[in-house]
């Protein structure tokens, strides 16, 4: 992968410190909302890929500098993987890819929502005119040999396993581990870290394996390795197996069987329940929230060996967080969901969508008050977390009341920094180990 600030930060996302780095990065992203916008128009993955965004931003700038003779605004184009295409963009390729412009949403805040002519049926404005003669050869240039190059493999596998999402999942696991009332054991932590990471890679790969034709039709997911034919389905499944088996084994025998069982269950839940359910029923959102809640649970069980109230509280926090995050994001993707056949609340039950988002914002407030009661944190925590909790609840209320893109975007952005900050505050207010304080029993 090209070295970029984000690649570095991805690697740094280890342990609970990762939360900080991730948070800072999100803040940096917030400063460029415009270019950031189009990346939000996406369905499956809830986390934005910063590298993709950077690449696209570069493309956008490059394109604006060229003067095209066309009727529509220049749009940044999703340049295919730098691995297969060593040649830099030439204009012709740019034209052809114009056939599938990214949602025009990306470029200006002032754009109207319905300008999403991203159904890509507009004829390419330039090709059909003057350079029709050269079209065939240019189109033929678009064809790529489906030959796997070994040096491309790491990058391809990273994208297949949604490495950045994995990094975030592992961060929440680490937070669970760190918050558990047990002395911090480095070997155990590292085993949990690696095991959970491998399990997440496996689950993400299978998810992509199942969704190829659907991913092709969504702007952000259309550059995935299986969609682009950079890797065969057989290899993807083999890779998933090669991650799942050692991952779960590491968790079961290196950490404890409970953590291993949770890891295996989560892989199953994500690949066999959530993924197909997305196209069947809106219940997928709740299942997906459970999938997000299990990693911190795993971190906790890894440290303490048991599932107690504190573990469930942490799981509950992640569970509730998913709703304002995803529901707000999905509000702007309704067209893609409808066309692609995804059953999401934002399309089928818009009132429910907003109600649930608000409900869970308030649940977060309640859970931060429960944290000290369950001996996870001190009583300072709900107090210092109150401002951010009130703020996200306020944005949740605005989304509920206004039901427009502006409020949904604000809520989504808020959720991106709210979670890491929330977890960080929890960590700083962690209940100290039993030193005769009357707080109650530990684990």
């Amino acid at each position: 992968m090209a070295a970029s600030p984000h690649t570095l930060s991805s690697r740094v996302l280890t342990g609970w410190v990762g939360g900080c780095v991730w948070y800072l990065e999100r803040r940096a992203l917030q400063e460029s909302p415009r270019r950031f916008l189009h990346l939000l128009r996406n369905v499956n993955q809830q986390w934005v890929t910063f590298q993709h965004f950077n690449f696209l931003r570069h493309m956008y700038v490059t394109q604006l500098n060229r003067s095209f003779n066309q009727q529509i605004k220049p749009k940044p184009e999703p340049v295919p993987s730098p691995f297969l295409e060593k040649a830099s963009l030439d204009e012709a390729k740019t034209e052809i890819y114009k056939m599938r412009p990214l949602s025009p949403a990306s470029l200006s805040l002032s754009r109207k929502p319905n300008e999403k002519e991203s159904i890509e049926l507009e004829p390419t404005p330039v090709i059909e005119g003057s350079i029709a003669v050269g079209t065939e050869t240019k189109e033929e240039k678009q064809w790529k040999e489906m030959k796997l190059r070994v040096d491309d493999l790491p990058g391809i596998l990273a994208r297949l396993s949604k490495i950045k999402l994995t990094a975030l999942v592992v961060s929440t696991t680490s937070a669970g581990f760190a918050l558990a009332p047990a002395p911090f054991d480095w070997p155990c932590f590292l085993l949990t870290f690696v095991g959970t990471g491998l399990a997440s890679c496996a689950a993400n790969s299978i998810n992509q394996f199942f969704e190829v034709p659907f991913d092709s039709n969504m702007n952000r997911t259309k550059n995935r390795p299986l969609v682009r034919g950079q890797i065969s389905p057989l290899l993807a499944v083999s890779f998933a197996a090669c991650c799942a088996v050692p991952g779960v084994a590491l968790l079961t025998w290196g950490v404890n069987p409970l953590t291993g069982a949770l890891g295996l269950f989560n892989i199953f839940l994500y690949t066999c329940c959530y993924t197909p359910l997305k196209r069947i029923s809106i219940a997928n959102t709740w299942v997906g929230a459970v999938v997000g809640a299990i990693p911190p649970l795993m971190g906790w069980t890894a440290a303490t060996g048991s599932l107690d109230a504190g573990a469930f509280l942490l799981g509950g926090i992640l569970y509730s967080w998913q709703f304002p995050h995803f529901n707000a994001l999905s509000w702007g993707l309704r067209e893609d969901y409808s066309r692609g056949g995804y059953c999401m609340m934002s399309v089928t039950h818009p009132d429910l969508c907003r109600r649930v988002a608000l409900r869970h914002c308030l649940a977060l407030v309640a859970m931060s008050a429960a944290a000290p009661a369950l001996d996870v944190t001190t009583w300072t925590f709900p107090v210092i977390a109150l401002p951010i909790n009130l703020y996200i609840s306020y944005l949740g209320f605005r989304f509920y009341r206004d039901a427009d893109r502006k409020s949904s975007r604000k809520l989504f952005f808020c959720s991106l920094w709210h979670l890491p900050l929330f977890l960080l505050l929890m960590l700083t207010c962690k209940r100290p180990a039993a030193q005769g304080d009357a707080g109650g029993p530990q684990s």
């Binding site: 052809i96 890819y97 056939m99 599938r100 109207k112 929502p113 319905n114 300008e115 159904i119 890509e120 049926l121 065939e136 189109e139 033929e140 678009q142 064809w143 790529k144 040999e145 489906m146 030959k147 394996f209 199942f210 190829v212 034709p213 092709s216 039709n217 259309k222 969609v227 682009r228 034919g229 065969s232 389905p233 057989l234 499944v237 197909p276 196209r279 069947i280 702007g332 309704r334 067209e335 969901y337 409808s338 066309r339 056949g341 059953c343 399309v347 089928t348 818009p350 039901a403 427009d404 893109r405």
Partner: protein
């Protein structure tokens, strides 16, 4: 479809994948047919070909229908509002996302059964293709080993 027009270089013995199709957004694959293609390899190739064609048909139709019905919806809503279809500047008049929400909901529920059928079909085919790919890979490894054995015995 663009696949038929494409001709891979003679030296190549791999499949080739093209740019996303205009209507279906799927990337067509031009399958390589080796000279000594085994029956299993042929079966796999034909399965992949057929799946590709079915997917292409489904998604091209789906996307075109979506566009068409979207246009019709916008037109009918604008007419109901008594608005012109084109504003003075010549730009096409459009509805905002909240107004379109009804259309999205209706379109999704109308096509639900079609998607159910397509999903089931796709899952079955995808798993079958992957399974056959595994079989073909094993067959090739087996053949290579047999060849090596023959060479060492000679």
């Amino acid at each position: 479809m663009a696949v038929s027009r494409f001709c891979p270089p003679r030296k190549s013995c791999h499949d080739w994948i093209g740019p996303p199709d205009k209507h279906s957004n799927l990337q067509p694959v031009h399958f390589y047919i080796p000279e000594n293609e085994s029956p299993l390899e042929q079966k796999l190739r034909e399965l992949r070909q057929e799946t590709q064609e079915r997917n292409q048909q489904f998604w091209a139709n789906q996307n075109l229908t979506f566009l068409k019905e979207k246009e019709e919806f916008i037109d009918s809503r604008l007419k109901a509002k008594g608005l012109e279809l084109r504003a003075e500047s010549g730009q096409k008049a459009t509805l905002n996302a909240e107004e379109m929400a009804d259309f999205y909901k209706e379109f999704l529920s109308k096509n639900f059964r079609k998607h159910m059928y397509c999903n089931r079909d796709w899952y079955k085919r995808n798993l079958a293709i992957t399974f056959f790919m595994g079989k073909v890979a094993l067959e090739r490894i087996w053949n290579k080993l047999r060849l090596k054995q023959k060479k060492t015995s000679n």
